[in-house]
């Protein structure tokens, strides 16, 4: 029972991204910061245990969980049936829209327009799976190891289109206005869930409880305001 | 009583039959010279006696105890059998003194001081008392070989095996080494030597063993055997060497 373990060792280990602004990125001290990090802190507080932050990439976050290196993954994790077979999810804690973004010179407005184009994406992410499922076969998907690499590939012009979250795109625009990606179309409304190992019912309900409290007492909204500069969408978590 | 005894020893390298039933008996204090053509199995014979090589049939006894090549046996053997090689095999990273002292200290557990006394004595015996602190590579071949002898003697062996120990030496250095052997023989050391020095075999050796094709082809009193060989093969061999 992981919940019991957490309480026994008075420490919770939570995987967070460090390459995925605004969910998790590094400051000049190379320490992670962002929505996911705040969320992790909040949960640790509520459980009244110490927090051990484990930075992960999108490629290795699931193995981390499966191999019990971490208790929770708070890493802008989207839910899909295949993943649900491997791990369990809590209720959502943050909004997220996946889309295809890119240079203004590329003329794409819908999935079908992607035929023959090249899109950069982070391997194993929800957007990767979405593209694989729905994009035209002639789309050339270029999969990178982690978000860092995907973003770098876009910023250096190695790819002209990327599939990622709307928030990531916004972040790029802030940092590199001259390479600001424009939204081509949205792939999926894919709110973020906290992942945990299968069969940990006690932990799951405990965390779900913490999330719904946070939703009610406005903590989630505060976090959203802080990092996204916008309130939670209407009906979020309903 | 016999110190070293070989009884019908057979040895194979894979399919190759090297020793084809060797019988040999060496008494304490004897000096036996083994001669024979290259490839006749002389080195192999010596190496079987001190356990460096296994043999497949027959038996070897040393002072009544059987010899095999199992490691532990070799170690016990090493306490009674000394061996000196054609290529000296001194330890290049140790001084002459350290070369000689090493085995007495770590194998016989002698104290440093005791080992040093022995080493000095042995070096004196081979006429190199002043070379204690030199490194081997600073010595001539003849000097190196004499250090090797001193090193073997420091273990107080009952018998000393010498495998063509002068063949790698410049002619002018051979004499010094032979002189040391002569002196050892005079002191009563048992010596089994593979050698091409016929004069030495005749003058110092008690007995000569002529090996041919893995067999002891002829053996007997040194002077007699070398002057009146019985077999055609030995006659040819002597003709070729002298």
């Amino acid at each position: 029972d992981v919940l019991q373990d957490i309480q026994d060792r008075k420490e919770i280990r939570i995987a967070v991204p460090q390459d995925f602004p605004p969910f998790g990125s590094v400051g000049p001290d190379l320490k992670p910061q962002g929505i996911d990090v705040d969320m992790a802190n909040y949960i640790a507080d509520q459980l009244d245990v110490d927090l051990k932050i484990v930075p992960v990439t999108s490629a290795n976050r699931i193995p981390y969980l499966q191999t019990k290196k971490v208790d929770l993954v708070i890493s802008s994790l989207g839910k899909n049936p295949e993943r649900e077979k491997a791990i369990d999810f809590t209720t959502p804690y943050a909004p997220f829209f996946l889309g295809v973004f890119g240079e203004s010179s590329v003329d794409v407005t819908k999935m079908a327009d992607l035929a023959g184009k090249t899109v950069g994406v982070t391997r194993g992410s929800v957007e990767d799976l979405e593209l694989e499922k729905y994009a035209p076969k002639s789309l050339n998907v270029r999969r990178f190891e982690d978000n860092n690499t995907t973003l770098t590939a876009y910023l250096t012009g190695q790819v002209k289109l990327i599939a990622t979250g709307n928030l990531v795109a916004t972040e790029i625009a802030k940092r590199q206005p001259q390479r600001a990606p424009e939204t081509k179309f949205l792939l999926k409304d894919s709110p973020c869930y906290i992942g945990l190992a299968e069969g940990e019912a006690a932990l799951q309900s405990k965390i779900n409880g913490i999330i719904s409290t946070a939703l009610e007492n406005g903590t989630l909204n505060d976090i959203s305001m802080k990092w996204l500069k916008a309130p939670l969408p209407k009906g979020f978590g309903a | 009583m016999s110190l070293v005894n070989l009884h019908q020893v057979h040895k194979y390298y894979g399919d190759f039959h090297v020793l084809k039933g060797i019988d040999l008996d060496v008494k304490a204090g004897e000096v036996v010279s083994i001669i024979g053509k290259s490839g006749s199995g002389k080195s192999t014979l010596l190496r079987c006696v001190n356990g460096l090589e296994e043999y497949q049939k027959g038996g070897i006894t040393l002072d009544g105890k059987e010899v095999t090549s199992e490691d532990i046996q070799v170690r016990r053997l090493a306490l009674s059998v000394g061996m000196i090689f054609q290529s000296f095999n001194l330890f290049p990273h140790l001084t002459v003194g350290e070369n000689i002292m090493l085995a007495p200290t770590i194998v016989l557990n002698k104290s440093k001081a005791e080992a040093k006394t022995i080493a000095e004595e042995m070096l004196e015996k081979v006429g190199l008392g002043d070379k204690f602190d030199r490194y081997p590579e600073k010595l001539s071949g003849g000097q190196q070989q004499r250090v090797a002898i001193a090193r073997a003697l420091a273990m107080s062996p009952k018998v000393l095996l010498c495998d063509e120990i002068t063949s790698a030496l410049d002619p002018e250095l051979v004499g010094d080494v032979l002189k040391v052997l002569e002196q050892l023989a005079a002191e009563g050391m048992t010596l089994i030597l593979v050698t091409h020095e016929m004069n030495f075999a005749r003058d110092v050796g008690d007995r000569v063993v002529f090996m041919h094709e893995g067999k002891v082809w002829e053996e007997g009193n040194s002077k007699k055997l070398l002057s009146e060989p019985e077999t055609e093969e030995l006659r040819q061999f002597i003709g070729a060497v002298l």
Partner: protein, 216 residues
């Protein structure tokens, strides 16, 4: 938006480089110890042990270090043991290092004449005594230059720990690149730091080689 000055980048890279150094040191020491044992095993005249060592070498020289990292990281925990990125990296680098060092050292030991072994055995020394007093001191002289030379490969190998999430120099580089979007500058700096770490090792290996060759 957080601004990174050049100073921030360098400071962070140098901080991360400490991990690279530490990782290299631990891996090198670990690799040396394992390689010592393996070298001793292969010198015994036990053919089964020799074969096992040969398989070990084939295995770790015949697969990419990257794979070894992944397998150590995910595989060991699958076996039910906790393993951090740090330990996994150490483990993988130790396996990798030892496999190569055994080969290098074998070459060195083979250059010693067989007569050294035989003379020692004839003096009654045990296997371990021969190793300790005769073979090791001589092989060490020959082995030191190629071993130092190989340490460069270990330092460079630590770069692959980045792919299992361990924040050393290369990982810090990709993170900083992501934060600053100045790949040319960041990766050039990373390369320079590696060069500064490795070049002295390469150079001393060459000098040692000359020195020991001359005195031979």
């Amino acid at each position: 938006m957080i601004e990174f000055s050049n100073y921030d980048i360098i400071r962070n890279l140098i901080f991360a480089a400490q991990w690279t150094v530490l990782l290299s040191l631990v891996a090198f020491i670990g690799g040396t110890l394992v390689a010592l044992v393996l070298t001793a095993l292969r010198l015994t005249r036990n053919s089964i042990l020799q074969k096992l060592v040969a398989v070990y070498i084939e295995l770790f020289q015949g697969t990419p270090l990257l794979m070894q990292m992944f397998l150590c990281f995910f595989g060991v925990s699958l076996l039910g043991y906790e393993i951090s990125a740090w330990s996994a990296a150490i483990l993988a680098l130790t396996l990798f290092t030892s496999a190569f060092l055994v080969e290098i050292w074998r070459g060195c030991i083979d250059t010693l004449p067989k007569g050294q072994w035989e003379a020692s055995r004839c003096l009654g020394m045990s296997f371990l005594q021969i190793l300790r007093y005769i073979i090791l001191p001589q092989a060490l002289r020959v082995a030191i230059a190629p071993t130092v030379g190989f340490s460069v490969q270990v330092v460079k190998g630590t770069a692959l720990a980045s792919v299992i999430g361990f924040v050393e120099l290369t990982k810090a580089g990709t993170m900083l690149n992501n934060a600053t979007f100045e790949p040319f500058k960041v990766f050039a700096m990373v390369a320079v730091i590696y060069f500064l770490l490795c070049y002295p090792l390469s150079l001393s290996s060459k000098i040692l080689e000359k020195k020991f060759n001359v005195s031979r």
